[in-house]
């Protein structure tokens, strides 16, 4: 039973390195640093500079340590159990979804075959409950408004996402993420399902609460959305949660549309080159999504709901019908 704890066992490597702890932490550190530095360059500024030998690389560590050593305030009127449990759950539940992502045919942490795509949507569907509970437990009007914005946003984004996932499953003939990736050896699903590709990309930005859709934490309207009452390391965990969510959805996007781990084999090592291609594709998509932050202003709530219900959902249905027609005619 405890064989997975031996030092050379594959599950231990998977839990600690990829797609486990180290992957998540290094990604969060890199993404925060890159975002601050890149946005600063876009505004003709320098960004973090003096902390860490004129590169600003240690800035993230300084922020995290400071938050760790800061006082945690639990106000009198909050629901104490929910208030102190939610920040921790917020970063762990999206991290659970990562264990389903195949890094190679033989490198899947939780290989449950044809249940993996539905299971990803199930786990990721739990994630919006955390902001809602946190906003309710905070007993603060800004937190509460932010929480309900999260609810509105996720419902209008998740239906097109699930429809796109269904189209992928029909084209691949399986719900198994490994089989879906293996089907994309010759052609990525982004080409035959271009509409689905665009919809899923927008959906990923909405789910990750990145800038054109960072409505729940709109700093100008709500003070800090559902995160308003959290201080110290609780706030650090909620920020961490944002990046874990970002990573999980980006990885699913790559797995479904951009060929997953497929790529030319480098240096004769199949597993290492597959992991390399997965990380390279993920970083490319992440950099592109971060770039959007210095281009677009924030949408209003009604514009966002219009986008979700009036455009994304019908287009996703159209995509589904298109794929079904292709499947029936035997093209795909």
């Amino acid at each position: 039973m405890w064989t997975f704890l031996s030092i050379n066992s594959k599950p231990l490597l998977q839990i600690t390195l990829i797609p486990g702890l180290a992957f998540i932490l290094v990604f969060a550190i890199f993404a925060v640093w890159f975002e601050r530095k890149f946005l600063a360059r876009a505004m003709l500024r320098v960004g973090p500079y003096y902390c860490g030998k004129r590169s600003g690389l240690l800035q993230v560590f300084a922020d995290f340590l400071k938050l760790f050593l800061k006082e945690i305030i639990i106000p009198d009127d909050v629901n104490k159990w929910f208030f102190s449990a939610m920040p921790v759950l917020a970063s762990t539940i999206p991290a659970l979804a990562l264990i389903l992502i195949p890094c190679d045919k033989n490198w899947v942490l939780w290989d449950i075959g044809s249940l993996s795509l539905p299971m990803f949507f199930a786990i990721a569907g739990l994630a919006p409950l955390i902001p809602i509970f946190a906003g309710w437990a905070s007993n603060n009007k800004y937190s509460f408004i932010g929480a309900w914005r999260v609810a509105y946003m996720y419902i209008s984004a998740e239906i097109p996402l699930v429809l796109c996932g269904a189209a992928i499953a029909i084209m691949a003939g399986s719900f198994d993420l490994v089989k879906i990736v293996e089907m994309q050896k010759n052609m990525w699903f982004a080409l035959p399902q271009f509409i689905g590709f665009i919809i899923f990309f927008i959906g990923v930005i909405i789910e990750a609460e990145r800038t054109p859709f960072d409505i729940p934490v709109a700093e100008v309207e709500l003070v800090f959305g559902w995160r308003t009452e959290f201080s110290g390391i609780f706030f650090g965990f909620t920020m961490m949660a944002e990046y874990v969510m970002f990573q999980a959805w980006t990885l699913l996007f790559i797995t479904l549309y951009l060929g997953g781990y497929n790529g030319p084999v480098l240096f004769g090592n199949v597993i290492a080159s597959h992991i390399f291609w997965l990380i390279a594709k993920m970083l490319a998509v992440v950099v592109f999504i971060i770039l959007l932050r210095c281009v677009f202003p924030r949408l209003k709530m009604n514009q966002m709901l219009n986008l979700g219900w009036k455009y994304l959902t019908p287009l996703a249905l159209l995509n589904l019908v298109f794929v079904l027609a292709m499947k029936v005619m035997g093209v795909a």
């Binding site: 505004m43 960004g47 003096y50 902390c51 800035q59 305030i73 800090f224 995160r227």
Partner: protein, 169 residues
């Protein structure tokens, strides 16, 4: 200075933390707090445009790790920028009490430092009558360079405070 040394000694006597470990934690805490000041700003007057420019191009306070933030719960520092009337000063105090320790206050401009051009007004008050101010930045209005210099002074102060083990107002 006697009080600060006793705090350190008291921690040593109570928890028996070995001095090298205590010093290491102190050093790391000082370093982290120094490079990660997140200020919230209370802009009430004409120092505002100068203060905005410190986060803009050219001056860029983020080089020092100073990241302006929206919510007081997550912030370390209030920057009181501009005139504070008697009524407004109560709000500053309210803000100050909402923040978590360690917290700092920076008075930017002549009005919160002394009374500035309103020296004979009955309603304008210097802000240090209500909250403990760490750094005073004079000027009417102060240039962005002056504000950044003030933040660097605050960084020095944070580092020294941690070394002494207590706040030295």
């Amino acid at each position: 200075m006697t009080e600060e040394t006793t705090i350190k000694e008291r921690i040593f006597e109570k928890y028996h933390v070995p001095m090298p470990i205590y010093n290491l934690v102190e050093y790391v805490a000082g370093w982290a707090r120094k490079y990660s000041i997140w200020p919230t700003h209370l802009v009430t007057g004409c120092c505002g445009p100068e203060f905005m420019q410190t986060s803009g191009a050219e001056y860029d306070m983020e080089r020092l790790g100073v990241l302006p933030f929206a919510s007081v719960r997550q912030c370390d520092c209030i920057m009181v920028v501009g005139v504070t009337s008697r009524k407004m000063a109560l709000r500053v105090k309210y803000l100050y009490e909402q923040m978590g320790e360690p917290k700092y206050v920076v008075a930017v401009g002549a009005c919160p430092v002394g009374k500035g051009p309103f020296y004979d007004s009955y309603t304008v008050v210097p802000i240090d009558e209500y909250v403990p101010v760490d750094v005073y930045i004079p000027g009417c209005p102060p240039r962005p360079e002056a504000i950044i210099h003030g933040m660097m002074k605050l960084q020095e102060k944070i580092k020294n405070e941690v070394k002494l083990g207590a706040r030295t107002a």
